[in-house]
């Protein structure tokens, strides 16, 4: 009796969901963030339901299997707009966004009530590599150190320190492609010394992101600038949401999300901006890292470039925008703080432009060269800039590095709205290091 009473109570908790983002799965993430019955968690260990949102490409199945097996019993899975693996039986699949929270709640409740069995483990529970300790006492190697126990080299002083001469042991591991603080789909191999990033090599590029359809329409015919600018502001607010969540400002991040959801030409940014300044977001959080030099800034383009002092903006070439007397505002420092200040300024600017454009009914005039929120799109759309992280992040502390990743919009843009997607480029994967897949 007691147990059933406990389970009944347990079924009434906020449903802890670990989201695994597939292509275009971030929309589901944002929808769930505002659902009161759902709690999005950062670690699969903290979840009751594994949500696979969007199609996960085949090269990320192996990490997905590992994440699947990291959820503690009892747990269940839900596939949203993606095909469940055939060997998983009776796995629910959901197509409509507004049905998603309800489906998650049902999954959790049924699991608690015992109406649904916990999902089985897919992989066998054994170390990926056998123990290879060499010493007499079971230690890694000859003497005190060395050897490759469990297929991993022991952490050792193998690299010079790159910052202040304090050389600690370095530890190499892989993180992603489902780590919540990374852009969806990105995986990196990282060497840390203490919590200082020693080397960073991006192994899997983030999924190409799809922009608001209006940007694709703008490539075909003139569109109302008001609509274009609102979509731009929304895109930036969505990125701000992720960054504020990472910075520990959960309530402010939800404010940003709500603002994005209800964005209209009468919206203002003032309240959110004041709240961020007052909370000390620009002063207390990790904000000094990720300084881009002009060449790197140009590679990424968009707000990141303007935050580094380049005043490139294709909107300057558009007659419609000239009518609205548009001129890009820039920051100079090119670090994380400058990028967020630039982003806030651009959201503000977009809202003003949208207001003016709606009143005067201004349309764009250029179709071949447009400025997307991700960067300029002339002959080719904005391309994946994640290799740039390999240059920018070494030397930063972990928190600083993740704040930098959140402030840089590196994912490529899908070439056609909802159409074919470029296959992800799988870069060389080096072996022999610990894997952490989240």
């Amino acid at each position: 009796m007691a147990v059933s009473w406990l389970r009944k109570l347990a079924s009434r908790t906020q449903v802890p969901v670990f989201p695994v983002l597939g292509k275009q799965g971030d929309r589901a993430l944002r929808y769930l963030a505002l659902s009161p019955e759902i709690e999005l968690v950062d670690s699969p260990r903290h979840a009751s339901v594994l949500l696979i949102a969007g199609e996960v490409p085949a090269d990320r199945f192996e990490p997905l299997r590992r994440v699947h097996d990291q959820l503690p019993y009892p747990f269940t899975t839900l596939w949203f707009r993606s095909e469940p693996w055939p060997h998983l039986e009776n796995v629910p699949r959901v197509e409509k966004l507004d049905e998603l929270p309800g489906a998650l709640i049902t999954a959790h409740r049924e699991l608690m009530a015992g109406q649904r069995d916990s999902a089985p483990r897919i992989l066998t529970d054994k170390p990926p590599n056998p123990w290879k300790g060499e010493g007499d006492f079971g230690q890694g190697g000859e003497g005190m150190m060395g050897g490759v126990p469990y297929g991993r080299p022991m952490a050792m002083n193998m690299q010079d320190d790159i910052r202040d001469g304090l050389t600690l042991d370095s530890l190499t591991f892989r993180l992603g492609p489902f780590f919540s603080a990374f852009p969806p789909g990105m995986m990196a191999e990282i060497t840390l010394q203490g919590d200082l990033v020693q080397t960073w090599s991006t192994q899997l590029a983030p999924y190409p992101q799809s922009l608001d359809p209006v940007f694709f329409t703008a490539r075909e015919r003139p569109v109302p600038i008001a609509e274009l600018e609102l979509a731009r502001a929304r895109h930036h607010l969505h990125r701000l949401f992720q960054a504020l969540r990472l910075a520990g400002l959960e309530n402010a991040s939800l404010d940003a999300l709500r603002l994005a959801q209800n964005l209209s030409t009468s919206s203002t940014l003032g309240g959110l901006r004041r709240r961020l300044v007052r909370s000390g977001f620009f002063r207390l959080s990790s904000m000094e890292g990720g300084v881009l030099d002009p060449e790197q800034a140009r590679q990424i383009g968009g707000p990141a470039a303007r935050a580094a002092g380049l005043d490139d903006d294709l909107r300057l070439e558009d007659a419609g925008y000239r009518r609205l007397r548009f001129s890009p505002a820039c920051q100079t420092h090119g670090n994380t703080r400058a990028r967020w200040q630039q982003t806030l300024n651009e959201i503000d600017q977009s809202l003003h432009l949208a207001q003016q454009a709606e009143r005067d009914e201004v349309y764009t005039s250029e179709v071949d060269r447009i400025e997307t929120p991700r960067g300029p799109w002339s002959e080719q759309g904005p391309e994946d800039a994640s290799p740039l992280l390999d240059e920018v992040l070494p030397g930063l502390e972990w928190g600083e590095a993740l704040a930098t990743v959140a402030s840089l919009d590196v994912a490529a843009v899908v070439n056609e709205g909802g159409g074919t997607q470029t296959p992800d480029e799988l870069r060389v994967v080096q072996g022999g290091s610990g894997n952490v897949f989240k």
Binding site: A10, P36, P72, Y73, A247, N251, S279, E288, W398, G399
Partner: protein
């Protein structure tokens, strides 16, 4: 003797642990709701439902963890919170253990908390908890030092290391006024020690939950309860050391104590919701270069006050 010296104090501390942790969970939800977090269902039932879910979830394993330390760490942190609650006086006579060195005992609770938090991060044998554990140790030392100087400051006018004496010494003037730097510094230590809100660097979002990122089920429940209970113990110590403990007109002593503890809790939880997480590097600088010198100043101020 057995009843008075063992059973009653244990019952009292257990009661405070449970009620305190529950109050923290409810208050935090209420504050989050007031700032616009979406909420469903009853705020009063939510902590229980969450606890029940964690009870049904299995405790997971990682690859070759240090089992003993991993399972013990949450329980030890809870035990430390219990020790902290045991030295908090509710009135002149109502105190679980009225040790003559209770202020020093609280100091050692802070020091041992560093050990336990590090052990919790280290023993999981996983990367992100490990970084969380290291971060706490790097910062924990500065928290301990600041707290030590601030507490020596309140022991000086009382001429005693006993919390009951410290409270009694505030009959004429509360320490929050006598040593104006003390309480703000001590509150920052409190946020640090329970790694709450802006100083949550050990269990932070950039580490997917830090030292707690690999635990689930009952151990996670114990860890969460222990953190909340530590916050309560801390607010009890802060209320005794700076806000005159049970002293106050009209109402009975324990009630005053409860009101003051709630006030401290409320301030800490509000700070936790309002401020972003501080960058670790900046936090180290802040602690050693700004707050520690301020705590020296507080001590010198207290010393001059005691000499005059």
């Amino acid at each position: 003797m057995f009843l008075n010296e063992l059973l009653l104090p244990v019952l009292m501390v257990t009661f405070m642990l449970t009620v305190g942790a529950y109050v923290v969970a409810v208050l935090d939800r209420l504050i989050a709701g007031a700032f616009g977090a979406p909420q469903a269902g009853s705020v009063w039932l939510a902590p229980m439902a969450r606890g029940a879910w964690l009870m049904t979830q299995h405790a997971n394993a990682t690859e070759a963890p240090d089992w003993q330390a991993w399972r013990l760490a949450p329980a030890l942190y809870l035990a430390l919170a219990a020790i902290g609650l045991a030295v908090v006086p509710w009135s002149e006579s109502l105190v679980a253990t009225d040790l003559v060195t209770s202020v020093v005992l609280w100091g050692s609770v802070e020091a041992l908390a560093t050990v336990v938090i590090f052990l919790h991060g280290w023993s999981a044998n996983a990367l992100l908890p490990l970084i969380g554990g290291y971060r706490y140790v790097a910062l924990g030392l500065s928290y301990i030092l600041i707290s030590m100087f601030v507490l020596i400051g309140v022991a000086l006018p009382a001429e005693s290391l006993q919390f009951t004496q410290v409270v009694a010494s505030q009959e004429a003037l509360w320490n929050v006024l006598r040593q104006p730097l003390g309480l703000p510094l001590f509150l920052i230590v409190g946020l640090g020690m329970t790694f709450w809100g802006p100083l949550n660097l050990a269990d932070s979002a950039d580490l997917a939950g830090g030292t707690a990122s690999e635990i689930s089920g009952p151990p996670r429940l114990v860890w969460d309860v222990a953190r909340a209970a530590m916050l309560v113990a801390f607010s009890g110590v802060a209320a005794s050391a700076f806000l005159g403990g049970w002293l106050g007109p009209w109402l009975p002593g324990p009630l005053w104590m409860a009101i003051k503890m709630l006030a401290v809790l409320l301030v800490l939880l509000l700070l936790g919701r309002l401020l972003p997480r501080i960058a670790p590097e900046r936090c180290v600088t802040l602690m050693w270069v700004v707050l520690l010198p301020l705590s020296f100043l507080d001590l010198v101020w207290a010393g001059i006050g005691a000499l005059l």
